[in-house]
Symmetry: C3
Subunit: 203 residues, 3 copies
């Protein structure tokens, strides 16, 4: 349990870093960077919990998350020049973050008693909606609508965690396998430039 808490704080930290850095090609100041970092970090889980009526919200109940976010924002602001060169590192952090949030998000939804279809969707939401809200805020087309394997990877991991739980697989084994599925799909998709077919109206 303690280990999960630490993982969640680390995931929140990485989401805040990547969110704060996401504004780099816009005219934002340090406050804007902090604001988008915050939204990215808490957006997905908050939407999930509001939809499921699960109160108090995690980051409101336990202020540790807020400090993990502040640390992430500070890291992004202090080291943004170095970090802008570490695109691969950032990509990895983001991938680990969405994998973690998909799996834990689906498990949490399931524990709140919703049906598996809804839980899978909530797992995906936990991982991707922070970034979607951030992109809406920054007036950018959400990454989700352009690089579908991003969300598809999250959905796959969320489905696996539910299937394995129903099969009675031990929790830690389940979480690790589902986590690895998300990471693997994402890495393979990016490595081989895979993508789902586009809807092309001009054909």
């Amino acid at each position: 349990m303690d280990l999960q808490f630490i993982f969640e704080l680390v995931g929140t930290y990485f989401f805040a870093v990547s969110g704060a850095l996401a504004v780099h090609d816009r005219e934002h100041d340090v406050f804007g960077a902090g604001f988008t970092g915050f939204i990215t970090a808490i957006g997905g889980g908050t939407l999930r919990d509001v939809l499921l009526d699960s109160y108090p919200l995690v980051w409101i109940d336990d202020v540790s998350y807020l400090y993990a976010i502040f640390a992430g924002i500070l890291t992004a602001i202090l080291f943004f020049k170095i970090m802008s060169k570490l695109r691969k590192t950032l990509f990895l952090f983001d991938t680990l973050g969405i994998a973690l949030f998909s799996v834990l998000g689906a498990e949490k939804a399931l524990s709140l008693g919703v049906r598996p279809e809804i839980a899978a969707m909530m797992g995906m939401f936990s991982a991707v909606m922070g970034g979607v809200i951030r992109d809406m805020l920054c007036n950018a087309t959400p990454i989700l609508l352009k690089k579908e394997v991003y969300a598809t990877a999250c959905l796959s991991g969320a489905i696996l965690v539910i299937v394995l739980q129903n099969l009675g697989v031990e929790r830690n084994v389940n979480l690790i396998l589902s986590f690895l599925l998300v990471v693997t799909i994402r890495l393979i998709a990016v490595r081989f430039k895979l993508s789902l077919p586009q809807l092309d109206w001009k054909k």
Copy 2:
């Protein structure tokens, strides 16, 4: 009651179709189409229920809605070429959808004990906010802000359903009359290109 449930599923299905097709002039793939279809279908009712603290959300409680949405998205993806030529059909579906959701949304809000002014607004929200959120997501100016008769028609139907209920009109008669009011206003406005005055700052 059964009839209402079927109507709601059909309305949800049509909203999902029109939402998924709404992305046709953007660079979205099939996942993006599904995502916007989903948001369009559940957005308005979800916002209404979150604002009114009415849990569990309809589509989380009864998974039938989710399958109606999946069917709508699938229809849009499989037949998008044909459907792109059926603009008048789509327009009709959308009109029937917003009429249905305005009327049922206002009735639901009223049954939750809010004041009539709020219930009328919630009826309109049920019908139009899914599309507004979809447009925010796709970085488009919401239709609501440009073609006001769209939302005005919804608001009119929502007000009528409340007035007739207070006058003691039988429920089915009320729902049908209010539904027809929305459809009629919308069709007349589009047929005769009616619109509310613009705020023109350059005059």
Copy 3:
């Protein structure tokens, strides 16, 4: 208490006016102006209360707020030509509005039992998120992300109200001092064109 209620209605009215006028350089009609006025006026407080699970929402429970908003929208529509020339007046109204909402928002959050860090953030949210949602709706980059002293002023006032309450300062004195802090920071920042450093990736 009565005085606070009147202040809140006046603040809501001014937010509705400034929100309805915010669309002046876009192709919105009168309904669009009303819609953005409404969102601007209720957005911040609604987001705060949904995040804190504080129901019923203030404007749903007491319909006076709705009429204050209608009055604000009507004012904006009827007098928009005159008002467009009164930019300084509008700026002052907006400043008074965000100062009021920051202070009262932080106090309300604190009374709901959240930690001071969260309460300060909720105070800022109450003041600025209505405008942020409005800007997302209108496809504009939120003012928040460009003129950081806007939100920083709100956050300062929200923090002061919490600090003074913990020091046992009498409530009215506390509210007035914190209110004045927001107004002062905002006026000084605009007068001397102060701003936080930008994150410049091109250096």
